[in-house]
């Protein structure tokens, strides 16, 4: 890993792909053009990921745009996005590859139907045959490795899987290859950008972290979130946008089961636009609160703490969830 990449290895940050120019600000602008406002650290790590060809591990609370970062990267670099959604019990048959046993069976039957089964040579032929690429079902990881054009591989919510699965990923992440016992080693034809996301619900293994660049994404500052909201809901009035984002920040301060995500601030902004609201008083807040708060108990808490603070005279009268 230490020495500069050998000539045979695919070059990181393939120059032939129309992608962002070679600088941090370039990456930032490219991401901005496809609707993702990255902050400095995110842009830098995205840049490093392309230059060094290393996977990126993105951690942070739910709803801060971890998955979106990968999608934006794929749009910005015009690469295909291959997504592997992780869940408990995900195994290699679903993530790497699987033999298409139905087809294999069919093949065997065709063979035995055609001639007598006494022919040893034909057995050899079938045997070699049914373990060839024709009978291989590629799953996301193999897809990403075998793709002829470079892709962006998103391994989402890696913390949902178990440690065994992480261990299996190591080969893919560090050497960009997959060993299939019957076929041999499949090496990457192009160098994918790999993004792993984690909600930090469990500690990932050292071995996995060692192979990745690390990025911690947090909820954005008021200013940046305002930019994001206004990028996605351009018609919204600046004053209203600021008010909205400030309220969302206030809500995040509370100890909620599920704090509102950035996507939800955007949804809320769009909803306010639809309703034609020009100010965010407590009446409007009460009516539209369900867009950002999605738990019964959270709603009570938010209504009590935040609803009060918002001006707008008669709150108790007609509101109430």
């Amino acid at each position: 890993m230490a020495e500069p990449s050998t000539p045979a290895a695919p070059t990181p940050g393939d120059p032939s792909v129309a992608g962002p120019p070679g600088s941090v600000t370039g990456v930032k602008e490219a991401l901005g053009r496809v609707g993702y406002l990255a902050d400095e650290p995110a842009a830098l790590v995205a840049y490093l990921a392309q230059r060094l060809g290393k996977p990126v591990l993105v951690e942070g609370p739910a709803g801060v745009g971890k998955t979106e970062l990968a999608k934006a990267l794929s749009r910005a670099t015009e690469r295909q996005l291959i997504r592997l959604q992780c869940y408990e019990g995900l195994d290699e048959a679903k993530a790497l590859y699987e033999w298409n046993y139905r087809k294999q069976l069919l093949r065997i039957q065709v063979e035995s139907g055609g001639e007598g089964s006494d022919d040893a040579a034909s057995w050899e032929a079938v045997h070699g045959d049914i373990f060839s690429e024709e009978f291989l079902l590629a799953r996301p990881l193999l897809h990403a490795i075998a793709a002829t054009k470079p892709v962006v591989l998103l391994i989402d919510e890696i913390d949902k899987t178990d440690q065994e699965f992480e261990a299996m990923l190591l080969e893919v992440l560090s050497d960009f290859q997959i060993s299939i016992p019957e076929l041999g080693v499949i090496e990457a034809r192009s160098h994918p950008i790999v993004v792993l996301t984690s909600n930090n619900s469990r500690e990932l293994t050292e071995a996995l972290k060692r192979r990745c660049l690390y990025l911690w994404l947090d909820y954005p500052e008021v200013e940046r979130e305002m930019e994001i909201v206004r990028l996605h809901a351009p018609e919204i009035d600046e004053r209203l946008a600021r008010r909205l984002v400030e309220v969302v920040h206030m809500v995040r301060q509370l100890d909620l089961k599920k704090p509102p995500s950035i996507a939800e601030s955007i949804d809320w902004a769009r909803a306010l636009l639809l309703l034609g609201a020009d100010d965010l008083d407590s009446a409007v807040f009460e009516r539209t609160m369900s867009i950002i708060v999605k738990h019964r108990s959270d709603m009570d808490l938010v209504a009590e703490r935040v609803g009060m603070k918002l001006g707008g005279a008669q709150l108790g009268a007609e509101a109430a969830g």
């Binding site: 890993m1 230490a2 941090v24 400095e40 650290p41 830098l44 790590v45 840049y47 490093l48 230059r51 060094l52 290393k54 591990l57 951690e59 408990e88 033999w99 046993y101 139905r102 294999q104 069976l105 065997i108 039957q109 049914i130 930090n200 619900s201 469990r202 500690e203 050292e206 972290k209 060692r210 990745c212 660049l213 690390y214 990025l215 911690w216 100890d255 089961k257 108990s297 959270d298 009570d300 808490l301």
Partner: protein, 456 residues
């Protein structure tokens, strides 16, 4: 690597050494990555440099925090020692200190802090030091001086008496200004004494994540989420497959390939893992006051994660608080309500474990079964009363598993009126537990522990 200025490589390695000595796990491969990454960013840009280094060597939020602290300290010291070596000093650094109006200064500092402009804060910190030094109050001890300056500037965080109509400042913002003050005072000290103070390891307090009840709660919640996952899938592998009747067609067919398409071996679908029923008993007496907040937060977190959970608090008698937890969200309200209406505010306030077992057994004896898990949070101090270990034994026999979390260090168990040994014998396992770290250990043991999988 060749693009890096000479001397930087050695500095980086020694910086990584520092990080290692603070417990950040950095392997050689990470250092090499860092070099590779630094090659691709302009190393003269402090922010890029820091981020690139951070992304390659600090692989968790905690590590990142240590990294930030050390980065500041290390390169600050490096720069200062270089300056000392070459005899560079700042002349007339406190120019203008004499004609400063303290009120005006206070106002502009307030503004700079509120807007979070770093450069300005640094300049203002110098001015504040100058103005302050003029009044001859400097003690020479940096920590003391920082606090004195801060007080004389009237900087206070939100909540603690926002005077008049001045907008209150966030604590975090004030801390940033304090860091600038500290830095500037250090710089002045180094220049005065012409030597670097010895570098010390980070104080435990500094490196811990900023703690507030809410964040402790978050840590507890995380540990409990793990516990939930582990309990839910525990014994999955051992239990299913063989005994259950449903044949898994897909896996059977796959297996049949080895025998030329003849399904010789049947594969079964795995059985669903157990849905644990959990009973938590939590001691809230005075002897565990300090731990009971922690315990209640554990309970709180457990309630968020498990549906089949019944919780009890006890001192002298036992009282079920399941619905308080189900109705209330806010942790503070919960602890208040438990104190008020939990029905445990007893005459003596002394724990009576024996009686608690008797009552517990009576209340739930019909519900306890091999699928139940009983978790006791308590110090096993009976205040000299009858421990009724045999009743506890009956509870543990009926329940599938019993865990005991004791807020005292193992060393103190069985001293004085603690009868831990009498109970521990009957538990599946007992743990010391007063921090989230212990809680995580508990989770790990539960997860990996073969003896904990049901004996049936």
């Amino acid at each position: 690597m060749s693009d890096l200025p000479p001397g930087l490589a050695a500095r980086l390695v020694s910086f990584c050494e520092d990080l290692r000595s603070e417990g950040v796990a950095i392997g050689t491969s990470e250092i090499l990555d860092a070099f590779e990454a630094l090659d691709t960013v302009p190393w003269t840009q402090e922010d890029d440099f820091r981020e690139a280094l951070g992304a390659t060597v600090a692989k968790s939020q905690e590590d990142r925090r240590v990294f930030e602290l050390l980065f500041d300290r290390y390169f600050f010291r490096a720069a200062e020692s270089e300056a000392l070596g070459r005899g560079i000093g700042e002349e007339r650094r406190y120019e203008g200190g004499e004609r400063l109006d303290l009120d005006e200064l206070r106002e502009s500092i307030r503004q700079a802090i509120a807007q979070g402009r770093d450069g300005e804060m640094r300049d203002l910190a110098r001015l504040a030091i100058a103005a302050f030094g003029r009044r001859g109050e400097g003690s020479g001890v940096i920590g003391v001086d920082v606090q004195r300056i801060r007080r004389s500037l009237g900087l206070q965080a939100q909540g603690r008496g926002a005077e008049g109509e001045e907008p209150a400042l966030e604590r975090e913002q004030i801390n940033r200004f304090e860091r600038h003050l500290r830095r500037e005072l250090e710089r002045a000290l180094i220049e005065r004494t012409e030597k670097l103070p010895p570098s010390r390891p980070l104080a435990e307090l500094d490196r811990a994540l900023p703690t507030s009840p809410a964040q402790d709660l978050a840590a507890v919640h995380r540990a409990v989420t793990q516990l939930k996952r582990r309990l839910a899938t525990l014994g999955h592998e051992q239990r299913g497959r063989r005994r259950s009747a449903a044949v898994d067609v897909r896996r059977t067919m796959r297996a049949s390939l080895e025998t030329g398409g003849v399904p010789l071996r049947l594969k079964h679908r795995p059985k669903h893992p157990r849905r644990p029923e959990i009973y938590v008993l939590c001691d809230v007496s005075t002897s565990v006051t300090s731990a009971s907040v922690f315990f209640l937060s554990v309970l709180h977190a457990l309630h968020d994660s498990f549906r089949k959970l019944r919780s009890f608090v006890f001192i002298e008698r036992i009282s079920e608080v399941t619905d308080i937890f189900e109705r209330e969200r806010d942790f503070r309200t919960i602890s208040e309500r438990i104190g008020r209406e939990g029905g445990v505010a007893d005459v003596s306030g002394y724990t009576d474990y024996g009686r608690v077992w008797l009552e517990f057994l009576e209340q739930i004896v019909d519900d306890l079964g091999p699928r139940s898990t009983v978790i006791v949070l308590g110090d096993a101090r009976t205040n000299g009363r009858e421990p009724h270990a045999e009743v506890f034994a009956r509870i543990t026999e009926r329940a599938g598993r019993t865990f005991w979390l004791n807020p005292e260090p193992r060393l103190y168990w069985n001293y004085g009126d603690s009868v831990m040994a009498a109970y521990e014998r009957h538990c599946t396992a007992a743990f010391e537990c007063w921090t989230t770290r212990h809680l995580e250990d508990f989770v790990n043991v539960v997860a990996g522990g073969t003896p904990l999988v049901d004996q049936a």
